[in-house]
């Protein structure tokens, strides 16, 4: 581990202001991330994980707002940057692989133009030949044929389109890539292929990746570290293997248990109860209404997010009391 982590999130708060009040989509989240690490961010839909991704890109739109905290990338607080400075950082140091593969490409622009326009807008000067060469190299990196360069998005399958977005996000070799459920719109076989491509590129280019998703199985196979989010808060964070072997938070435990296991097919134990309203979150620990191990303290006080062993953090009274 290096001295300063690549990414430090400190007490980040993102609220959506609606008529009824503030929806706390990301509420006081802190974590660090080292260079070259693949980190997973899991949670049910509505847990705030996509808001987290948008916040990192500084793309929260009204009525949403980053209301507090710091997001330090290599020591620079992204929140304090001007619009133009942030624009320069996007793609060159911090890139995103989008969720909706099928609609993320401009339908009326050829693939080659879309592959290079990001570079052109980040002061990369290329001759026509260099441009063509770069397009060819990028397509090759994501296992696409050179002829794709002259095609339009509608001529490509969903998996191919997602590969094009992957090629775009690595085009300037950023330090950190945020992949927001990059394969959720694809079928299983294509999902696997695209994930393999992302994995291979991550190793080859030494990227750090934040993989956002709800699929614990996919996470187990893919990421080094895992962060579990629930109702806008982080529940637990740690090495993936250690967490699967010995989950500390009851929610993590339930998520792992809910995985369908090969030996006993069909026994899929969901988590009872519904996700809480982010407008009026439960008092104390946000998970206590659904927690099988909750006791009276859980209802009254919010458990602090504490480091229980090196690199392992958890917010649960079971571990601190």
């Amino acid at each position: 581990m290096s001295a300063t982590p690549l990414l430090q999130i400190k007490n980040l708060k993102v609220y959506y202001y609606v008529e009824q009040g503030a929806v706390k989509a990301v509420d006081d989240i802190s974590f660090n991330m080292e260079l070259g690490v693949k980190m997973g961010l899991v949670g049910e839909s509505g847990s705030g994980k996509s808001t987290m991704a948008l916040a990192l890109m500084r793309m929260i739109k009204p009525p949403g707002k980053i209301v507090g905290g710091q997001m330090l990338l290599d020591g620079t607080d992204l929140i304090k940057l001007s619009e133009e400075q942030m624009r320069q950082i996007k793609l060159s140091r911090l890139a995103m692989i989008p969720q909706g593969a099928m609609n993320s490409l401009n339908p009326v622009m050829r693939i080659d133009k879309q592959l290079v326009d990001g570079m052109l807008d980040h002061n990369v000067i290329m001759t026509k030949e260099e441009r063509e060469k770069r397009v060819g190299a990028l397509l090759e990196m994501v296992d696409l044929a050179p002829k794709v360069a002259k095609m339009y998005p509608h001529e490509l399958s969903g998996g191919m389109q997602q590969r094009v977005t992957v090629a775009q996000s690595i085009s300037m070799e950023p330090d950190l890539i945020i992949a927001d459920e990059p394969t959720s719109a694809l079928d299983v076989v294509i999902q696997r292929q695209v994930m393999e491509t992302i994995n291979r590129l991550q190793q080859r280019l030494g990227l750090s990746v934040i993989l956002i998703g709800h699929d614990m199985g996919l996470m187990a196979q893919t990421v080094d570290r895992l962060a579990v989010m629930y109702a806008g808060k982080l529940m637990e964070i740690g090495e993936t293997r250690a967490m699967f072997r010995h989950p500390l938070h009851p929610y993590t435990e339930l998520l792992i248990k809910s995985l369908p296991v090969l030996e006993n097919k069909g026994v899929f134990s969901g988590i009872p109860g519904i996700t809480p309203s982010l407008l009026n979150p439960p008092t104390g620990c946000v998970f206590h209404p659904r927690c099988p191990k909750a006791w009276d303290l859980c209802e009254k006080t919010t458990p602090p997010f504490t480091e229980v062993e090196s690199g392992r953090w958890v917010a649960c009274h079971l571990n601190t009391a």
């Binding site: 890109m57 793309m59 942030m86 624009r87 320069q88 950082i89 996007k90 793609l91 060159s92 890139a95 995103m96 989008p98 969720q99 909706g100 609609n103 993320s104 490409l105 401009n106 339908p107 009326v108 622009m109 326009d117 990001g118 807008d121 980040h122 339009y152 509608h154 001529e155 977005t165 775009q168 996000s169």
Partner: protein, 337 residues
Amino acid sequence: MRIPLSYVLKRIGFLVAVLFTAATINFLIPKLAPRDPVTELINRKIASGGLTSEGAAEFGDSLRKLYGLDKPLWQQYLTYIWNMMRFDLGYSIVNYPQRVSDIIGQTVFWTLGFVATSTILAFLIGTVVGALVGWSKTSKWFSWLMPPLAMFSAIPAFILALVLIYFLAFKLKAFPLRGGFSATIEKDWSSTEFLLDVVHHAILPGLSMLLVSVGGWALGMRAMMVTVEGADYITFAEAKGLKGSRIFFSYALRNTLLPQVTALAMQLGLIVSGATLVETMFSYPGIGNRLGAAIAALDYPVIYGIVFFMVVGIAVATLFVDLLYPFLDPRISYSGG
């Protein structure tokens, strides 16, 4: 971009169907109406003393023969369609033997001039204003433009023309009240003085058309921009850190062009109808005013001929736009339209 032949043929087939329907309607309506233009004309001639009742029967027969009205209906129909295909629109009854096609030739360029200019200007201005208002990154001051533009867009152009004539032409005397050029100037298309005079006369009719249509383009464009702004490819373009101008032009605006041009094609009929009435208001020497005059004089061949000509013009323009689609949106040519 290569346009598939099947697409072109399909569009041309549609054009032919439209013209055929229009010609058939033109043929059928006078037949259905219990009205005999020949008798009406003769009665008018007798009334004005130009014809004695003895000569009337003979004159009527010769007229009927001339217009082929003595033949069976199906033969008249085939002759009519054949004539339409050759663009032989017949003769004016009132100004016999003036040909309808000559009347059209003398008037159409006056109309094309101010209508095309005002339509193109309105389309460009409206599209840009609507795009700026709809785009959330532009100043909110632009949205103050919308209510007045929308109000103008609701009022028919010929009604707005009345207001413009009263205030700008009659009160301020900044523009001529009527006509296409001053009677005092020699009609010479090579003289600058005459050309400026023509432009001076065309401004108010053009302005009526322009003010009325800008709002429509702006409203439509704004709605489309709002939709496009929520599209995934805009979010991804932002995530790529593209410059705002590139996102606005190459990503957002570029994707609204197709529906906007489609809307233009759909509006052509309304534009031509509106121009007809605006010309009437200004007694402008264009084809619409000539249509109005023919209606007043019950000159049926001229009415039907001008209407048919306008339908042809609109249908051809629509075909042109249809063939433009594949260039605006690469998805079109594959789905076959």
